[in-house]
């Protein structure tokens, strides 16, 4: 801990509490409290340990689950026999995770367990992610876990190996950024719209070099699910991580979770968590403010997550851009997306709907989508509408609330948990030239499949697009 008593931010306090050794060159050896592992970025890391004859230092602080490659269609047949994973490379990555976690004594949530799900849904819902902890995972959307007041960020394979072996990382502290959103949110405006508004305001590179803290009345009043959505997309604004200060909402969410502190530990933990909030008078390196009243339901038009317009808006005209490089990029984007400048967003018809991903696959997301789907049916031109719960526990809860029936009666497919159509690493892909209204986080070229066209939006907006067959203002449906 620093002995300096000057006011500190939440980020600074968590950082200070985890420095094992500070070096003269500005790097610090930082202790890692929680390491989440999945099948894509871990095999070479485990191999490295094996080659060097090393162990996992703290298997008790490490938790593994498969999500990227796993199929979201049935995993067992009628007789309860496991169905094979068709792609041999996916099957091999999944098998390697089972082999490696067994060999190194790391806890693995197996594919048929109710607790299986997307790693960034599983961590919080298990209470594995706690306020004031450092959380890493070999995946850029690890930023999600900041919703609970944890310092959470994605790392590469070499770093995964470094954490497995030493439970530490060598890092330089980032600059601090306050993103303050105050005021009431309008009708139809969800945490996803807040996230998209922030990415649009900062731009896709605007957060580079920063760790963001989300402050203001909007976040104080927002649920943990909503905070997870916003922190998840910190990475789309280029930030290393994003956090929301822990408060009573956080504690209520965590209390009773399987891995949350129990009994006497709980009270001690809450007292410590309360002490983490940013001190009055602490300063951030940069401050960005957004008036919540200006946020409306949003949708992306291009191939970068900051290509955001109001659903009532039009496709922007590249000719209006003065910077030739930006103009060329926008023209290329529109050509790829099959859109023309000036086209109304609400006239854009869609082929596929994807409700899911680490951004929007939690119970509140499914409730919001189901509220729109209820008593309606997907439009004739929609080829496929997927609903993919973020975990088996989310799926169970949704089924207990009857949401699965609402979706199925409306023509949606109700799937098994996983990353699914977010990133084209499993069978759920958007075919070339087709357009998808997606609750995921990236609309990059080819992200949902080679030649796929993605419009990012909220779960309610995705459901609205499903029932009308085109991008639609949810406020006109609800």
């Amino acid at each position: 801990m620093t002995t300096d008593s000057s006011p500190r931010t939440l980020y600074q306090k968590i950082w200070d509490a985890h420095v094992v050794q500070q070096r003269d060159d500005g790097t610090a050896l930082l202790y890692i409290d929680r390491h989440l592992v999945h099948e894509v970025t871990s095999p070479q890391a485990f191999d490295g340990l094996r080659a060097a004859g090393r162990k996992v230092r703290r298997p008790d602080l490490t938790l593994a689950v498969a999500d990227h490659n796993i199929q979201t269609t049935a995993r067992v047949d009628a007789a309860g026999q496991r169905l094979p994973v068709e792609d041999p490379q996916s099957a091999e990555q999944l098998a390697a995770l089972v082999r490696n976690t067994t060999a190194f004594g790391v806890e693995y949530i197996e594919d048929l367990a109710a607790e299986q799900g997307i790693v960034h849904v599983v961590g919080p819902e298990q209470g594995f992610t706690l306020p004031g902890t450092t959380v890493v995972c070999g995946d850029s959307h690890t930023a999600s876990h900041g919703a609970l007041g944890a310092l959470a960020f994605g790392i590469g394979t070499s770093e995964v190996e470094h954490v497995l072996a030493s439970q530490t990382l060598l890092l330089k502290r980032s600059k601090s950024l306050e993103v303050r959103v105050d005021g009431p949110l309008g009708p139809g405006v969800t945490p996803k719209d807040v996230a998209l508004a922030i990415v649009a305001k900062l731009t896709a590179a605007g957060g580079a070099g920063y760790v963001a803290e989300y402050t203001g009345s909007v976040f104080r009043e927002m649920s943990i699910e909503g905070r997870l959505t916003v922190c998840n997309m910190s990475i789309e604004a280029g930030a290393r991580a994003g956090l929301v200060a822990p408060d009573d909402t956080t504690f209520a969410y965590l209390k009773g979770k399987p891995r949350a502190p129990k009994r006497a530990d709980w009270d001690k933990a809450v007292a410590w968590w309360r002490s983490l909030v940013t001190d009055p008078g602490a300063t951030y390196d940069k401050v960005v403010t957004i008036d919540a009243a200006t946020i409306v339901p949003l949708v992306t038009w291009g191939t970068s997550p900051d290509d955001v317009v109001p659903i009532t808006g039009i496709v922007p005209d590249p000719a209006a851009l003065t910077d030739p490089a930006r103009r060329a990029a926008a023209e290329k984007s529109l050509a790829y997306m099959g859109l023309t400048a000036g086209q109304r967003m609400q006239d854009v018809s869609v082929d596929r709907i994807f409700i899911g991903s680490c951004t929007n696959s939690r119970i509140e997301d499914l409730r919001a989508a189901a509220a729109i789907a209820k008593g309606r049916h997907i439009a004739g031109n929609v080829k496929q509408a997927l609903v993919v719960p973020g975990s088996g526990l989310v799926k169970r809860q949704a089924e207990a609330e009857g949401l699965d029936r609402i979706f199925i009666e409306a023509g949606f497919e109700w799937r098994e948990p996983g990353c699914s159509m977010c990133l084209a690493m499993n069978p759920d892909k958007v075919p070339a030239g087709e357009r998808c209204a997606s609750t995921s986080n990236r609309n990059f070229v080819g992200r949902q499949g080679p030649g796929s066209r993605t419009h990012l939006l909220s779960p309610a907006m995705a459901a609205a697009a499903a029932v009308t067959g085109k991008l639609t203002d949810v406020r006109e449906i609800a």
Binding site: D47, Q93, F128, T133, K262
Partner: protein, 199 residues
């Protein structure tokens, strides 16, 4: 990681500038589960050229690669270093390297030697006929013709390579400090480790 003292042997006389990591290992090799075996895909596009140095039996199994300026530019993929290590390359000599690739090479125990273009050209000539030697302790590259070229290297990296320590090995030398932090966390925030496993 294998310690480096002297690396002596044949050298692939490649000598081209701006070899990017996509040339070192093409993207379609990235969906693997091991670091091993990537050597098969290393320099795939160059190996498609008739008479290329990598398939020339004269250089089979060479531990040294001599390349042109800006070696390892482009994507940051660590697979490039893995692929080189897998094909047995332990050192690369070039007039310059991309920062990221040079870091990845170091992480994987590959020595990157920077020498002026004219000395690299001389080594390219010699390597076509005879073995060359790199001595890390004295920071020199020598040839059977009595050429002796001195190179600079970051003292920290030199020390790590001489001792065969990778970044993880170095961190693990700080075991006392890590254990001290764990003891403090155990006292001050006991619920952190206590709660990680489901009750």
């Amino acid at each position: 990681m294998r310690a480096i003292d002297t690396i002596e042997g044949k050298a692939y006389p490649l000598g081209r500038p701006n070899i990017d990591t996509d040339i070192i290992i093409p993207a379609h090799w990235l969906k693997t589960v091991t670091r091993e075996g990537l050597g098969k895909g290393a320099f795939e596009t160059i190996r498609a050229e008739p008479g290329n140095v990598f398939d020339d039996p004269a250089y089979a199994g060479a531990p040294i690669l001599i390349a042109g300026d800006n070696y390892g530019c482009g994507s940051s993929r660590e697979h490039a270093a893995w692929a080189m290590a897998d094909m047995g390359i332990r050192a690369v000599i070039a007039p310059g390297f991309s920062d990221i690739h040079s870091g990845n090479a170091f992480k994987n125990g590959i020595l990157t030697v920077v020498l002026p273009q004219e000395q690299v050209d001389r080594l390219l000539e010699v390597a076509k006929e005879l073995p060359i030697a790199i001595d890390l302790e004295s920071q020199t590259v020598t040839t059977p013709y009595q050429d002796r070229f001195r190179f600079e290297i970051d003292p920290f990296r030199k020390d790590c390579l001489l001792k065969g320590l990778d970044e993880i090995g170095i961190t693990l030398q700080l075991d006392d400090a890590i254990a001290a932090h764990e003891a403090k966390a155990h006292r001050e925030t006991p619920w952190v480790e206590g709660a990680a496993r489901a009750a």
